[in-house]
C-alpha cells in the first residue's frame, strides 16, 4: 500500500517537474502506438468494409481467421518479427531491428486483426440495414464501402481506441524487437518492466500511473472531439 502511495506521489512529481526522460519516453510510446494505429486503421477499415459488401469463396475463412488473430500472443509476434529482421533473417538487410520502426511493425501486426474484427462486426450490422437501399440506388462497391465507413465512424473510433489500448500497453513484442535501448527504443511499458526488475517499484508504479493517465487522456480526447456521447447518432 505504501509503495502504491509512493508511486502516486512520484508520478505526480515526475509530471509536475516535466522530467525530460519521462517526456521523451512518453512521446516515444505515443509515436510508436499512434503510428501503428494509423497504419492499422488504413488497412483494417477498408478491409473490413470490403469483407462486408462482397461475397467470395474464402470470405468466411478470412473473417474467422481475423477473429482468431485478435488473441495473437504479442511475444510470438515479437519473435517472428525478430527472426524476420535479424541480421540473418530475410529482411535483415533493412537494418530495422532494435529501432522504433520494428516496434511499429510488430504493433501493426498485433493491432490490425483486432481493429478489423471490431470494424467488421459493426459494419456488418449496418450493412444488414443499408444493403437493399445501397443496391437499389445502384452505387458502386467503392461507394458502398465509403458509405459504410462514414456511417460507422463512431464504431470505428471505438475500434481505434481498442487498438490504441492494446498497443500502448503492449510490452512483449516491442521488448523483443526494440530491445528497450535507452534514448532509442525505450517506451513506458518496457521502462516499467526494467524498473520492476531493478526493484524500483515506486518508479515503476509512477511510470504505470503515467501510462494509465496517457491511455485515459487519449480516450477522453477522442470521445470529446469525436462527439461520441452526444446522442446525435453520428
Amino acid at each position: 500500500m505504501n509503495e502504491i502511495l509512493q508511486g502516486l506521489i512520484q508520478a505526480f512529481w515526475l509530471v509536475l517537474s516535466f522530467d525530460s526522460e519521462l517526456i521523451t519516453i512518453s512521446l516515444r510510446s505515443l509515436y510508436v502506438t499512434v503510428t501503428a494505429l494509423v497504419i492499422s486503421a488504413l488497412i483494417a477499415f477498408p478491409l473490413a468494409a470490403f469483407l462486408v459488401v462482397t461475397r467470395f469463396t474464402f470470405r468466411r475463412a478470412i473473417v474467422v481467421t481475423l477473429n482468431a488473430l485478435m488473441g495473437l500472443p504479442p511475444v510470438v509476434v515479437g519473435l517472428i518479427v525478430y527472426i524476420l529482421f535479424s541480421r540473418s533473417g530475410p529482411l535483415g538487410v533493412l537494418g530495422l531491428l532494435y529501432t522504433t520502426s520494428a516496434m511499429i511493425i510488430a504493433q501493426v501486426i498485433i493491432i490490425t486483426p483486432l481493429i478489423t474484427s471490431i470494424a467488421h462486426q459493426s459494419m456488418q450490422e449496418l450493412w444488414s440495414d443499408y444493403r437493399n437501399l445501397l443496391i437499389s440506388i445502384n452505387i458502386s462497391k467503392m461507394q458502398r464501402v465509403g458509405t459504410l465507413m462514414w456511417d460507422s465512424k463512431r464504431a470505428l473510433i471505438t475500434a481505434c481506441l481498442a487498438g490504441f489500448g492494446r498497443g500502448i500497453g503492449e510490452v512483449g513484442a516491442i521488448m523483443i524487437v526494440g530491445g528497450n535501448i535507452d534514448n532509442a527504443t525505450r517506451v513506458l511499458t518496457t521502462a516499467i518492466s526494467l524498473e520492476t526488475s531493478r526493484g524500483d517499484f515506486a518508479l515503476a508504479l509512477a511510470l504505470g500511473f503515467v501510462l494509465i493517465s496517457l491511455a485515459m487522456s487519449v480516450s477522453f480526447a477522442t470521445h470529446w472531439f469525436g462527439k461520441t456521447e452526444r446522442g446525435d447518432l453520428r
Partner: protein, 234 residues
C-alpha cells in the same frame, strides 16, 4: 419510351415457387398498382423487377440497356431505410453518389424537404423521426434523381391518413412529371384513388392486368371477386 416486359419470370427458393410464371408488360405512363392479398407475391415481384431478387427463370427486359435502366429507376421499401444521417443528408445522398456538386445536392434536398413538409427538420437525425416522416423522406429521396421508373412496396401501409395523403400527392405529382410508378398495395381504396391500371396477383401468379375501371367492374377471377368484395382471399 421506357416500357418493361416480363417474360416467364419465376422465383424459387429451393424447391418452393414464390412467384411465376409471370408474363407482363408495363407501359410508360401513369401509376400501375400491384394488388393482392398478403403473401400473394407482390414484394417478390417488385424486387425481381428492380433487380434485387435473382430470377430462377425468365427475363425482365427494358427497351433501354440494363445498365442505363438501373440508373433510371428507384425503389421505396415498405419499412423505410434511413441512413444514420440528417434529413438533408438522407435526401441529398443519391445526388452526392452521382457526383453532383454539394450546392446542387443541398438545394435539391431543401426543395424536397419543403415538398414533404420537413423543412424545419432538415438538421435532425432521420432515424429519430416518425414512421410517416421517414417514409416521406424515403419517397422524396427516391424521386430526387427524377427516375423514369419508381417501384414502391406498400409505402403507406400502417401510416395515418394525413401522411398517406402527403405521399399519394407526391406520387401523383411525380407521375404527372414523367415518372412511371409501379406500386404494390393491398389497400383497395388507394388503388381506386391512384391506379391507371391494376395488376392483380394471387398465389404468385398474375390473374388480371387491365385498366382500373375494368378490374373494378368486371373482375374475371374468383380471387379478384373475393378481394373486391372484401372477403378473405385464400
Amino acid at each position: 419510351m421506357f416500357p418493361l416486359r416480363v417474360t416467364d419470370v419465376e422465383i424459387n427458393i429451393k424447391s418452393k415457387r414464390l412467384i411465376g410464371p409471370i408474363n407482363l408488360e408495363i407501359e410508360q405512363n401513369g401509376i400501375s398498382i400491384l394488388l393482392g392479398a398478403n403473401g400473394s407475391g407482390k414484394t417478390t415481384l417488385l424486387e425481381a423487377l428492380h433487380g434485387l431478387k435473382k430470377l430462377s427463370a425468365g427475363k425482365v427486359e427494358w427497351t433501354i440497356s440494363h445498365s442505363l435502366a438501373a440508373k433510371e429507376q428507384a425503389f421505396v421499401f415498405q419499412s423505410p431505410i434511413m441512413l444514420r444521417r440528417t434529413v438533408a443528408e438522407n435526401l441529398a445522398f443519391p445526388l452526392k453518389v452521382r457526383r453532383l456538386s454539394k450546392s446542387t445536392a443541398t438545394a435539391e434536398a431543401m426543395a424536397w424537404a419543403k415538398k414533404i413538409g420537413l423543412e424545419n427538420k432538415i438538421k435532425q437525425q432521420a432515424v429519430l423521426l416518425s414512421g410517416g416522416e421517414m417514409q416521406a423522406i424515403a419517397v422524396a429521396r427516391a424521386l430526387i434523381t427524377k427516375p423514369k421508373m419508381l417501384f414502391l412496396d406498400e409505402p403507406t401501409a400502417s401510416l395515418d391518413g394525413a401522411t398517406k395523403k402527403t405521399i399519394e400527392d407526391i406520387l401523383i405529382f411525380a407521375s404527372r412529371n414523367g415518372t412511371k410508378i409501379v406500386m404494390s398495395t393491398h389497400d383497395l381504396g388507394q388503388a381506386k384513388r391512384l391506379a391507371k391500371d391494376i395488376i392483380f396477383l394471387h398465389r404468385g401468379v398474375v390473374e388480371a392486368h387491365c385498366s382500373k375501371e375494368k378490374f373494378l367492374t368486371e373482375p374475371t377471377s374468383k380471387a379478384a371477386k373475393q378481394f373486391l368484395a372484401g372477403d378473405i382471399v385464400l
